[in-house]
Amino acid sequence: METVFTPVQSLGGGALIGLASVLLMAFMGRIMGATGILAGLLQPADLSDWSWRAAVVAGMVSGPAVMLLVTGQFPAIQVPISTGMLVVGGFIVGIGVTLGSGCTSGHGVCGMARLSPRSIVATLIFMLTTGLTVFVIRHVLGG
């Protein structure tokens, strides 16, 4: 499934992701990592620890509605794989981000911006294994 190259929207969207990361650190002193925020939501330290995380996630979920209001349509979600593969992939992502303490937002953006050696290594590794996985599925197995 081919997709259109969108440098302007992607750069702008990326800048907003960065802005949110900077603001969460400035006001709450927290890393804007989807894995960390979600994990703390499932196992909160106390009510106030749970409530800020719930508020951030509620804000995230409202993002597409703002897109709908501004552009007249939800962001495109095209899934080029079967439901079975989606479940397998989701389960593996859950295992990986929990063991590795972070994902694209936590390690890839916040950790890299702090020049954390753990995040730099984690990001290089997952970018590599994601690329290898896509290559194997599309060009070796021919999916």
């Binding site: 997709t3 992701i17 650190m25």
Partner: protein, 146 residues
């Protein structure tokens, strides 16, 4: 006030993800398909996010602490261990299969798309499986020492 601010910050993140294409598995997977139908858009997302965060953090982390009190909660570990390396490698395999990462999928819940809900359910099951494993492992090692 604190919660409203957190909601607003989450909203900025959610709009950013929606705008950038990170919520779209086809676009994410095509970024990694350099040998096929390559779409370099995601490089611009990562580049934009990193540039803003890198510069913003330089100013923010000069402050004695966060505006709303407390301390900056930054991971202090610098060592590389197996869970980090192995976990990152496993995450990449899952991301390469599904095309959703947690930060892309959470905002996408707001579209009500069935595929997103299926992915998030599987994601939570994977997180739960590791937590359960850790809990059993901890209980066993504690039982051994007492």
């Amino acid at each position: 006030m604190r919660l409203l601010l957190c909601y607003g910050i989450g909203l900025i993140f959610g709009v950013g993800i929606s705008m950038s294409g990170m919520a779209n598995p086809a676009k994410v997977l095509n970024f990694f398909d350099v040998a096929g139908i390559w779409d370099p858009s995601l490089g611009f997302v990562m580049g934009g996010a990193l540039a803003v965060t890198f510069v913003g953090y330089r100013f923010v982390l000069k402050r004695p602490g966060p505006v709303l009190g407390g301390m900056f909660q930054l991971p202090r570990r610098r060592d590389l261990d197996m869970p980090l390396v192995g976990g990152a490698a496993i995450f990449g395999v899952g991301w390469g299969i599904a095309g959703f990462c947690p930060g892309g999928a959470l905002p996408a819940i707001g579209t009500g798309d069935t595929n997103v809900l299926i992915f998030v359910a599987a994601l939570l099951a994977g997180i739960g499986a590791v937590k359960l494993f850790y809990a059993i492992f901890d209980a066993r090692s504690r039982a051994k020492t007492t």
